[in-house]
Amino acid sequence: MHEHDVIVVGAGGAGLRAAIAAHEEGADVALVTKLHPVRSHTGAAEGGINAALRDGDDWTDHAYDTMKGSDYLGDAPAIETLCSTSPEEVIQLEHWGMPFSREDDGRVSQRPFGGLSFPRTTYAGAETGHHLLHTMYEQVVKRGIKVYDEFYVSQLAVTDHDDPEDRECHGVVAYDIRSGDVVGFHARNGVVLATGGDGQVYDHTTNAVANTGDGPAMAYRAGAPVEDMEFVQFHPTTLPSTGVLISEGVRGEGGILYNKEGERFMFEYGYANNAGELASRDVVSRAELTEVNEGRGIEDEYVYLDMRHLGDERIVDRLENIIHLAEDFEGVNPLEEPMPVKPGQHYHMGGIETNENGETCISGLYAAGECACVSVHGSNRLGGNALPELIVFGARAGYHAAGRDLGEAQIPTGPSAGTEDETGLDTPVSPGALDSPDEDVAADGAMVDPGAVVESAVERERTRMTEMLENDGRNHAEVRQKLQKAMTENVNVFRREQNLKKALEIIRECREEYQDVAVSDPSRTYNTDLIHTIETRNLIDIAETITLGALARDEFRGAHWREAHQERKDETWLKHTMISWNDGQPKLYYKPVILEGEEKTYEPKVRSY
């Protein structure tokens, strides 16, 4: 068993920042990651990182834009923390050598992005995430922080108290991918989950294949509630054949969207008369699909994104990466022709419920980055706000786990923070009823020895993996593809009650079929078949929470569009959807949105662009 003060699971942007912070605080910290850190999906982020750095800009404006962008479902204390802290975090990245794009005076460049009232998106070409990831990994190397790369964390070691708010997390269990050993990691102070996105729930996504929602699924099964899972962001400009992302930077620099008729539809059909292409992502995604649905799409599938008028020089200077992506993955030269684009799954606003210090309701368990929901994005994330979230809340989780006093959190967590139980939700199936007992959360009895809690979790995980390797059954890929297809068809940009119910039925079938999965590869060495099989279970849990939350929320807010409910219902829905895993069943409840910040109280207004 390995032992450290702080164990960070996942080594993308949030994980690396958390590890650096914990190390600065004097903790013995280790990163445990199923990839190597530089393979993390943060590297695929393109557009930029929002920070109020310039004269004429102010972090309070950034906070206002973020609250409006969230469609008033963000929590003000978290948003104010994000916006007031991101300038110093961005400057720190620069001090660590991050190669930002530069202005003539040598300062870092900023550009306009959707939903922002000031051009505050700091960037490094169209490969900002790549540079951010590598710069932070360099700092991890410099500090000699221990990295366990290619270790797949598959379970948390949490004590077995009835009330999740009494539970404690003492570590994690990981499959050493190279050797095949199942090993325990004991965290003396805390575990920080920074496992990233879960885009593999859908079959058309900008996300990496590794983005399978492992963190949220593990935390959820350990008793930490997940929050606002129905809010899934679809990015308006992804390449149709692969889902590869074409950065919002293209529109930020002046790129134009056209339909089949050659009309600039964002204005022509009144989707966003002021901001046009630079409206918020949810608005642009729906506009594109509406064009396609009304017969003005190209090949009934996509629209055109044109940047030729920007001129070769500007494109090469600021968006060079886009030329390569369009050429390599769609066979289109964007200097000579417009790029075909359509919406694709991109980001999950929801995730593990945390407060602004990164804490979950389980003592010793933290989460940060896309796997978490501290609720800065509410029901829609603004472009350029994911990267500051990673570093701001990654750092806070790391500092807090290592013992720094960050003050009393203003955002309450855990089931006791809920105000309202939702009963009588009309679902066609009883979701989640099937579960094998060995996948239950915690250690036996009321063990208090932390090492024993971890050992016990390791033993259970060894048994589970051995069974998968030795039992006969079906291949996980079939279940995974069925799930992805169902989600894309039924829980996409446009949501209808009957489709959501249909999706729940299929998810239930997938859950039943999953009871029979087996791993065909008998080898312990680098068994990706085993890993993918475990991931598939995580995807089922995530898909179910997305769909349940979506079915219950009968209003139209941010990324969540409902056919029969075409308005935002502030009087009933100004609240977060919470789902917790109780006795093998998801339980749905709600907690209020906090619109009152230290700076100001944010009054919900009509959101127009």
Partner: protein, 298 residues
């Protein structure tokens, strides 16, 4: 209805049977009996319906599994569609025929750097390589040979041990070092646009190790830092924000016995780099810088 089978149909049928036979041979090693269910049926149907198919000849090896201890090649028949990449084809084979087929991959957009492979005798990123581009004539090649990166220890199938590559990358102090920071708390360091442009290509490295695998010198000299690590050193040595003293320190590192002077300018690293980094030029420039700085000491 006629029961006669045309020659073409017969041929197609044989192709499918061949594919299934090959797949079964692979499956013989497994402990658990796994039902590929409709995936396998779907594959058979898709192979039958496809206008064109591609045969993947894939290197297999597993130190633990009886049938795979001796390295061998397996062939998978995959239906071809326009735009299909080597990685797409590998994933298809894995998901439909043999889920023990092992390879690294994640982002499938040429930025995570995990799927560098030896495809038809050359180092390439699987995700970035169109099958159609592997053949001079129009359309997909009949057979594509996929092997793990040469000059690395094979862990299993197409997965190689990356540790030596990581060690070399980390040997060049691959992190920004400067003593001078601006006074103001929220003030960045200034960097000219020209200087940012100068280091731009070097910062694009995704650590895929294709260059290292293609380098004859690295193959013969295990201590040679190799093109990727030297490029990493270049990225910092040429960054004006680090200052002159630090640049000297960096030149000392790359000038060591197994550093830049080992390079024989064969350009193989530059040829295979999926991010078009002019690696050989960067190495030559560092050689010149090293000579210049030594002259200065006299």
């Amino acid at each position: 209805m006629s029961t006669q089978v045309t020659e073409q149909e017969q041929e197609e049928q044989e192709t499918v049977e061949e594919a299934v036979e090959q797949t079964e041979a692979v499956g013989a090693a497994r402990a658990a009996q796994v039902d590929y269910g409709f995936m396998e049926e779907k594959a058979e149907q898709e192979v039958r319906d496809a206008e064109t198919t591609v045969k993947l000849k894939v290197f297999r090896y597993d130190p633990e599994v009886a049938g795979k201890k001796e390295p061998r090649f397996d062939t998978f028949t995959v239906p071809f569609h326009k735009g299909m990449t080597v990685l797409d084809a590998l994933m298809y084979a894995r998901d439909h025929y043999d889920s023990s087929l092992t390879f690294r991959h994640s982002c499938r957009q040429a930025v995570c750097g995990s799927d560098a492979l030896f495809v038809n005798g050359r180092q390439r990123l699987g995700c970035k390589t169109q099958l159609a581009d592997l053949d001079d004539s129009e359309g997909p090649p009949g057979t594509v040979t996929i092997e793990p990166l040469p000059h690395s220890d094979v862990v299993k199938d197409l997965v190689v041990d990356m540790q030596h590559f990581y060690d070399q990358m980390e040997a060049v102090e691959p992190y920004f070092q400067t003593d001078e920071y601006p006074k103001g708390e929220l003030e960045e360091q200034r960097q000219t646009r020209e200087n940012r442009e100068k280091i731009k290509m070097s910062t694009r490295c995704i650590w895929c190790s294709a260059c290292m695998s293609s380098c004859n010198i690295a193959a013969g000299d295990n201590e040679y830092l190799g093109p990727a690590a030297i490029n990493k050193a270049y990225r910092f040595a040429m960054d004006e924000r680090e200052g002159e003293a630090q640049k000297q320190r960096r030149l000392e590192i790359i000038e060591q016995e197994h550093g830049v002077w080992r390079c024989q300018t064969q350009f193989s690293c530059t040829e295979v780099c999926p991010k078009d980094i002019p690696l050989t030029e960067h190495i030559q420039e560092l050689k010149r810088e090293a000579v210049k700085s030594n002259l200065k000491f006299w």
